[in-house]
C-alpha cells in the first residue's frame, strides 16, 4: 500500500465547530409552530395488573388534546427483538417502576401534567422478584406468563444439551440460556494442580448520556407521520413504528443533526418515545414533542445488566491454563430487550483471550422486576471481563507468577484456536499489546517497588493489568452490512449518505477521511445529510463498534466507484483515454498537458448530465455459531488490548485514586487519531466509574439514585493521566486494515483498577463497585433508610449519608 495521505493524520472533527459554538441542533432543540407537549404516565410499582385504565378524563382537562394507551396501537403495541415481550405502552400488566402506561399531548407542560393526573388508573399489585436466584425458584412470581407457558411447551427436545441444568433452575423467568462447550472442564479441574473457585458480581450501570430520550412527531399530509429522533438505529425505529402504528409507507424517521450521546442506550426507550409521540401526533393531527426528564430517563430506560458470576479455573503449577467452568446469571429485568444478545457476547468472552483445554460457559438471562437491562458499551464483555481478569490475576498469584507473565504465557496468538473451536486467522496483536503496555507502564519496576511497601504504610500504591479481546461488530447475531452513497451535492461538495448515526463517536470524520484517502480530495470536500430513512440506505444498527469497519468499507467502495466516474468524465472532457488521466489531489491531467480542476470537472459533468453518484454495499464475511452446541465462529476477528492501572489507596479510609492508566489497543489501523484517543479516554472514564462508584441502586425495584446528585460518575478530577498507544495488526478486510475501538476501550479498565487495588492493599474486591466501604472493610454497607414507596421521578434517598 502506498503511503497514506489523509488516513491516520491529525484532523479536525468534521462537526467540531457546530458543537463548540453551540450551533449544532439536537432533538431537544427542535421546535415547530403549533407543537404540543407530551408526557407519559409511568408505573409507580414494580409489578401489577392493570385493573382499570381510562384516559377520557384526561381529555376533559383544558389544554389536553390527545391521550393514548396500548389500545391505540396495532396488537397493543407489542414489540421487542429478539423476544417480543414489550409494549409501546403497558398492556394488561406493568413489570417495573417506570413502565410506560399512558401518554397525553397538550398545549402546555402544565396541561399535560394535569392530564396525567386526571387519568384513572387502578393497579392490583402482584408479588415481585428482585433477585436472579429467587426468580428461578419454582414458586417465584412470573413476569411473562405467556412466554413462560410457550417455553414450557417447547420442551428441551434435545435442542439444548444442558437440559439437566435448566431443569434444576426452573424455566419460569428464564428468558434465555446460552452456552460455550469444549471438553469436560469439571473433570479436568480435578486434575489441575491449582484451582480457583470464586464468585464475582457487577452492578447495573447508567449510560448517563447528556441528552435524554426525545422525539418530535409531525403528521404528514398523506395521513402518515415523520418522526425526528436522536437514536442509534433509525431503521429499527422505523420498523417498530410501522409495526405498531400500522401505516407502512407513510412513516419516516429523520435523525436530528446531532445526538447527545448513546453508549448503547439510545434504542428501546427511543423507539417507545418515538411511537408514543407518533401516535399522539396522529390522534391530535398536530406536531407532538416528547422529552423525558433526567429522572424519568434514568428510571425508565434500560441499564447495563447486573451479573453474578462463578468462576472455576484450573492451571498447572507452572501457570498453564487448562480448564474453565463459568456460570453467569444476568439480570434482564422486566424485559428481554438486548439481554439475550449481550449475554451471548458475554458467554463468548467470559473465559478471556487464553488457551484452555476444556471450557464450559453457562449463561442464564433472568427476568426480574429491577427496571430492565439492555445494551451498554462492551455489551456483556465489560461485565464478564470485570470478573475473568480478576480471576486470572488470582490464579496467577496462586501459581506464584507475575500477572503479566501469566497472561503472556497463556494468551492467544495468530493461528491459535479459541476454546469454542474458532481458529484465529487474522489480526491478533494481543501479545504485542501486553509487551508494549508492560514497557510503557514501567511495570516490572513499579510492581516490584509497590510489592515492597512496608506493612504499616497507610497510603499504598498498586499496579494491575487486564487484557482482553472483543469480537468485531455483530458477529453471528445476524446479517452484518452497510450501504453508502457518495454523490455530488450543493457547493460542489460530495455528500456521504449513511444509515449509521454519529452520536458523538466521530464516524462522520472517519468516513470523510476514508473518502478523502480514496478520492485524493481534502476532507472539507465532503459533507453530511441527516440520516433520513427516505433518503439513505439501511446500514444495520449503529452498535457493536461497527461503524468504522462496516461504514468505512462501504465508504471506501463507494469512493472507488465515484473515482472511476470522475476519471471517465475527465477523459471525456480532456479528449483522452481513461488510462491516460493522471490525478494530483483536486487536479486531473491529460497526456498532452491538459489540466482540469475538480470544480471545472464538476461543472463539465453537470453541463453534460454525467451523474456523479456511487453506491456501494459491504457485507461482513458470513459465519456460523451453533447456539445449541455452544461452538462455532462467533465473530470473524477480534480487537485485542491491555490496560495497566496504577492506583493509590488510603488503607485507612478506603479512598482510591487512580494515578495512571496505560492503554495499548490493537485497532488494526488508526484512522482518526484525535477521535480514537477520545474514544479510549472516554471509555476509560466509564470503566473507572464502573470500577469505583457507579451503581444504579435498586431497592425493591425502586431506583434510589435517579439523578446525577446521587448517581455519581467520574469528574475530570477523578481521571488519571492516560497514556494511549496502538498496535496496528492489520485486518485484511478492514478499511485500510482498521478494526473497532469504541466499546473495547472500556472493557479492561475496571479489572485493571481492581487488580491494582488488590496489589496495593492485599484485599480482593470481587463485587463492583469498589466503593469506600468495600475497599476499607472488604464488604459493602447498606443504608437501611432507603425509600421504597415513592413516586416515579421524585424517589430519592436522603441527600446526606450520616
Amino acid at each position: 500500500m502506498s503511503e497514506l495521505k489523509s488516513l491516520g493524520k491529525p484532523t479536525r472533527r468534521v462537526d467540531a465547530l457546530e458543537k463548540v459554538l453551540g450551533t449544532g441542533r439536537y432533538t431537544h432543540d427542535l421546535k415547530i409552530p403549533g407543537m404540543l407537549v407530551a408526557k407519559v404516565l409511568r408505573s409507580p410499582v414494580p409489578h401489577a395488573e392493570i385493573v382499570k385504565l381510562d384516559v377520557t378524563p384526561a381529555l376533559k382537562v383544558p389544554g389536553v388534546v390527545a391521550a393514548i394507551t396500548s389500545e391505540d396501537f396495532v396488537d397493543h403495541g407489542n414489540w421487542g427483538f429478539p423476544v417480543k415481550d414489550d409494549y409501546m405502552l403497558a398492556y394488561k400488566k406493568v413489570r417495573y417502576v417506570g413502565d410506560p402506561i399512558a401518554a397525553v399531548a397538550a398545549e402546555t407542560e402544565e396541561a399535560a401534567e394535569a392530564g396525567l393526573q386526571a387519568i384513572v388508573l387502578e393497579l392490583k399489585e402482584l408479588p415481585a422478584v428482585f433477585d436472579v436466584h429467587e426468580a428461578l425458584k419454582p414458586d417465584a412470581p412470573i413476569l411473562h406468563e405467556e412466554l413462560a407457558k410457550a417455553q414450557a411447551e417447547e420442551t428441551t427436545s434435545g435442542e439444548l444439551e444442558d437440559a439437566e441444568f435448566i431443569e434444576v433452575h426452573g424455566k419460569g423467568n428464564l428468558s434465555e440460556t446460552l452456552i460455550v462447550r469444549q471438553g469436560d472442564p469439571l473433570s479436568k479441574l480435578s486434575e489441575c494442580d491449582v484451582v480457583l473457585d470464586a464468585a464475582y458480581s457487577v452492578a447495573h450501570q447508567e449510560h448517563a448520556y447528556l441528552e435524554t430520550e426525545a422525539a418530535l412527531a409531525v403528521p404528514t399530509a398523506d395521513g402518515g407521520v415523520t418522526v425526528f429522533v436522536g437514536d442509534q438505529n433509525p431503521f429499527i425505529t422505523l420498523s417498530n413504528l410501522v409495526m405498531t402504528l400500522g401505516m407502512p409507507g407513510k412513516v419516516r424517521v429523520v435523525q436530528s443533526p446531532h445526538t447527545g450521546g448513546a453508549f448503547g442506550g439510545k434504542s428501546d426507550m427511543v423507539y417507545e418515545t418515538a411511537a408514543q409521540a407518533a401516535m399522539l401526533a396522529i390522534k391530535s393531527g398536530r406536531p407532538v414533542k416528547l422529552v423525558t426528564s433526567r429522572e424519568e430517563s434514568m428510571i425508565a430506560s434500560y441499564k447495563r445488566d447486573a451479573m453474578e458470576m462463578r468462576y472455576r479455573l484450573g492451571a498447572t503449577k507452572d501457570g498453564r491454563l487448562r480448564a474453565a467452568k463459568i456460570e453467569c446469571w444476568a439480570d434482564s429485568g422486566a424485559y428481554a430487550s438486548m439481554t439475550p444478545f449481550t449475554s451471548w457476547r458475554a458467554t463468548i468472552h467470559a473465559m478471556g483471550p487464553y488457551h484452555y483445554e476444556d471450557c464450559h460457559v453457562d449463561m442464564m438471562c433472568v427476568y426480574t422486576n429491577n427496571g430492565y437491562s439492555g445494551a451498554f458499551r462492551g455489551f456483556g464483555n465489560t461485565e464478564v471481563t470485570a470478573a475473568s481478569e480478576q480471576a486470572i490475576d488470582e490464579l496467577a498469584e496462586m501459581c506464584g507468577m507475575d500477572p503479566m507473565d501469566f497472561r503472556l504465557k497463556n494468551c492467544v496468538e495468530l493461528g491459535d484456536t479459541l476454546p469454542f473451536g474458532q481458529k484465529l486467522e487474522y489480526s491478533v496483536g494481543l501479545k504485542q499489546c501486553l509487551e508494549r503496555v508492560r514497557k510503557i507502564s514501567d511495570w516490572d519496576r513499579k510492581r516490584a517497588e509497590y510489592s515492597r511497601q512496608p506493612a504499616h504504610q497507610e497510603i499504598r500504591r498498586g499496579i494491575g493489568v487486564a487484557s482482553f479481546f472483543h469480537g468485531l461488530s455483530l458477529g453471528a447475531e445476524g446479517l452484518d452490512f452497510a450501504e453508502h452513497t457518495i454523490r455530488l451535492g450543493e457547493g460542489n461538495k460530495f455528500e456521504i449518505l449513511t444509515g449509521l448515526s454519529d452520536f458523538g463517536q466521530g464516524s462522520r470524520t472517519v468516513f470523510s477521511l476514508i473518502a478523502s484517502e480514496v478520492l485524493g480530495f481534502p476532507v472539507e470536500r465532503f459533507q453530511w445529510l441527516p440520516c433520513d430513512t427516505d433518503v439513505v440506505q439501511e446500514c444495520g444498527p449503529t452498535v457493536a463498534s461497527r461503524s468504522t469497519i462496516l461504514g468505512g468499507n462501504a465508504t471506501r467502495l463507494a469512493a472507488m466507484r465515484l473515482l472511476t466516474q470522475l476519471y471517465d468524465a475527465a477523459a471525456m472532457m480532456m479528449g483522452c483515454m481513461v488510462p491516460e488521466v493522471r490525478q494530483e489531489g483536486e487536479v486531473f491531467y491529460g497526456p498532452a498537458g491538459q489540466r482540469v480542476t475538480l470544480d471545472e470537472l464538476i461543472a463539465y459533468a453537470r453541463a453534460n448530465h454525467i451523474p456523479l453518484s456511487a453506491k456501494a454495499r459491504w457485507e461482513m464475511p458470513r459465519i456460523h455459531w451453533s447456539f445449541a452446541k455452544g461452538r462455532g465462529v462467533p465473530y470473524v476477528a477480534y480487537h485485542f488490548g491491555a490496560q495497566v492501572a496504577e492506583v493509590e489507596v488510603d488503607r485507612r479510609t478506603g479512598v482510591t485514586k487512580v494515578l495512571n492508566i496505560y492503554a495499548v489497543h490493537d485497532v488494526g489501523k488508526v484512522v482518526f487519531p484525535q477521535g480514537i484517543r477520545g474514544q479510549i479516554i472516554g471509555g476509560i472514564s466509564q470503566g473507572l466509574g464502573y470500577a469505583l462508584m457507579e451503581r444504579v441502586e435498586f431497592e425493591k425495584g425502586y431506583i434510589q439514585n435517579p439523578n446525577f446528585d446521587t448517581y455519581l460518575i467520574p469528574t475530570a478530577a477523578d481521571m488519571p493521566v492516560v497514556t494511549v498507544e496502538f498496535v496496528e495488526s492489520e485486518l485484511p478486510f478492514g478499511p485500510f486494515g482498521a478494526k473497532n475501538v469504541a466499546e473495547p476501550s472500556m472493557v479492561p479498565t475496571a479489572p485493571a483498577i481492581l487488580n491494582a487495588i488488590y496489589h496495593a492493599t492485599g484485599r480482593r474486591i470481587r463485587h463492583l463497585p469498589a466503593n469506600l466501604e468495600r475497599v476499607l472493610l472488604g464488604y459493602d454497607l447498606k443504608d437501611t433508610v432507603t425509600t421504597t414507596v415513592c413516586q416515579v421521578g421524585v424517589c430519592e434517598r436522603a441527600k446526606c449519608e450520616l
Partner: protein, 291 residues
Amino acid sequence: MSIKHFDYVRASSCAEAVALLSDPTHISRPLAGGTDLMVLRHKGEVQWDRLVDISQVPEMRTIVQQGEAIVVGAAVTHAEIVEHPLIQRYLPLLADACHSIGSPQIRNRGTIGGNVANAAACADTLPALVCLDAVARIVTKDGEMAVPVKDVVVGPNRTSLPAASVIRDFVIPIPPAQARMAFFKIGRRQVQSISRLSLACLGWLDADGRVAEVRIVPGACTPQTQRFDQAEAVMLGQVPTEELVRKAGQAGAVQMIAITGRRWSTPYKELALPALIERALRKVFGLPEVR
C-alpha cells in the same frame, strides 16, 4: 414535578428581608445562592409563593476584620471566601472547607449562610465554623440575636432559627498566631461529592510544647455538629506523640458511637474517623505526616 409560579422580591437590607419574610399574605422563602432551594423546588418538596432574594443585601456581602474577629457576611459565596486574603491569612480552615464544596459553579453561587441555614448534616462549612467558635448574628423581627453556630443547627435540616429571620453574618474570632488548622473530607469521588465524613481541627501548643488548645469537629458524623471533647481531652495538656494521636482517634470513634449509636454506616466511620483525627492532629501539632 409541577412547575409552580411564584413571586420574587429582592431585599436591600436585612430589616427589609425580615419584613418581607414576615408578611402573612405570602408563604415566603429566603433565596441566597439557590443551590439547595432550586433542588428542593425541582423535587417538589417545598412550597412557597414568593422568594425573598437576600443575595444582594450589602451588609451580608462583605468580609471584614473587626478587632480580633473576622466578620463574614452570610451572603458571601464559597468562592469569595476561598479567595479572600483575610480568610486565607487567618482562617485557612474555612477556606479549605469552602473549597471542598461542590463544583466551581456551586461555589460561585452557594453562600456560607445558606450552607448553615439549610443545615444538611453533611454541610462542609459546619465543622469549620463550629471549630472556629463562630457566632451567627441573626436578624429577627424582634431585633438581633447572636447564637453560636453549634447551636444554630440542632439536627439534620433542623435549625433554631426563629421564623422569618435571616442570618446576617458570622463573627469568627481570629485564632492566636501559633494556632494551626486542618480540614479533611472524604467523598465518593475526588471532587463535587457530598461528604461521607469530614473533620475540622484546630489547636496550638504552649511554651512547654504541651497542647494548650485543641478542637476536633467531625462533619457528616453526628446529627448536631459538635466538638468531640473526649478526643480533645486525650490531647489537652499533653505533649503530642504518635501514641497520643492514636488514642485521640480511638476516643473520637467511641464518642461518635456514644452519640449516634450503631448505625448502618458505623462500621465504616469507626475506622475512618480515627484516621482523620490522627492525621488532623499530626498536621496541627507538627508530627510527621503518614505515608
